[in-house]
């Protein structure tokens, strides 16, 4: 499953895990305070929600096709985030660790490169910039 949420991911429950799994990989992408040498104060995420949900679900389905995993779920935060908050959480469960690691990486990489979500960095001093867009 793929979710977008306005609420802090920190407060959301993890998905239930079946007893058939021997490995659970959790990736949490967090907001860091520096990017490209600039001091970041906050991040803002915006999505084309309808298409982002479809494309995100597609990515998670592909992970099931490519890797023998038992469960996978991805949640992406929307709105304004402060330093240290979780922007994306991917949880993958599998019988063994290799496929869990690989599927988790696949989901994170594909979500970052394909799903219509945009990130604006707000810098100390008041400037802000849409990442990937201003330098295209």
């Amino acid at each position: 499953m793929f979710y977008l949420t306005e609420d802090p991911i920190e407060g959301l429950p993890n998905p239930p895990i079946a007893f058939t799994v021997g490995a659970i990989v959790v990736f949490e992408g967090t907001v860091r305070n520096v990017n490209d040498g600039q001091q970041v104060e906050a991040l803002e995420y915006e999505a084309m929600e309808s298409l982002a949900k479809k494309e995100g679900e597609k990515v998670v389905s592909e992970a099931f096709e490519k890797f023998p995993i038992v469960g996978a779920e991805c949640t992406h935060r929307m709105g304004l985030l402060q330093i240290g908050e979780i922007a994306i959480r991917v949880v993958v469960a599998a019988e063994h660790r290799n496929e869990a690691f690989q599927a988790c990486q696949y989901i994170v990489d594909e979500v970052k490169s394909r799903v219509p979500i945009w990130k604006k960095e707000h810098y100390s001093g008041g400037a802000s910039e849409w990442i990937n867009s201003n330098r295209a």
Partner: protein
């Protein structure tokens, strides 16, 4: 002339100043439509850097536009 709804997100939304508009266009494809809009609003993004969605599905820049279509130009994404 087909009547099209255009949705804007992120940098394009800010540059256009609205998140959605309806318009009549002579453009027959998203590429042509973006050229029209870019000339009118001075978008900074080159066409080659964009993807397009028509009616909530990724589409080609050369797909024929039809009356009533909803078009969204998608600047390079940056999730995660």
């Amino acid at each position: 002339m087909p009547s099209i709804t255009v949705q804007y997100f992120a940098i394009l939304r800010e540059q256009r100043g609205v998140s959605e508009e309806s318009l009549d266009t002579r453009a027959q494809t998203p590429a042509g439509l973006y050229g029209e809009l870019s000339a009118r609003h001075g978008f900074s993004m080159p066409l080659a850097s964009l993807r397009v969605a028509i009616n909530d599905e990724f589409a080609s820049m050369d797909q024929a536009l039809e009356d009533g279509d909803s078009v969204a130009f998608i600047a390079p994404v940056a999730g995660g």
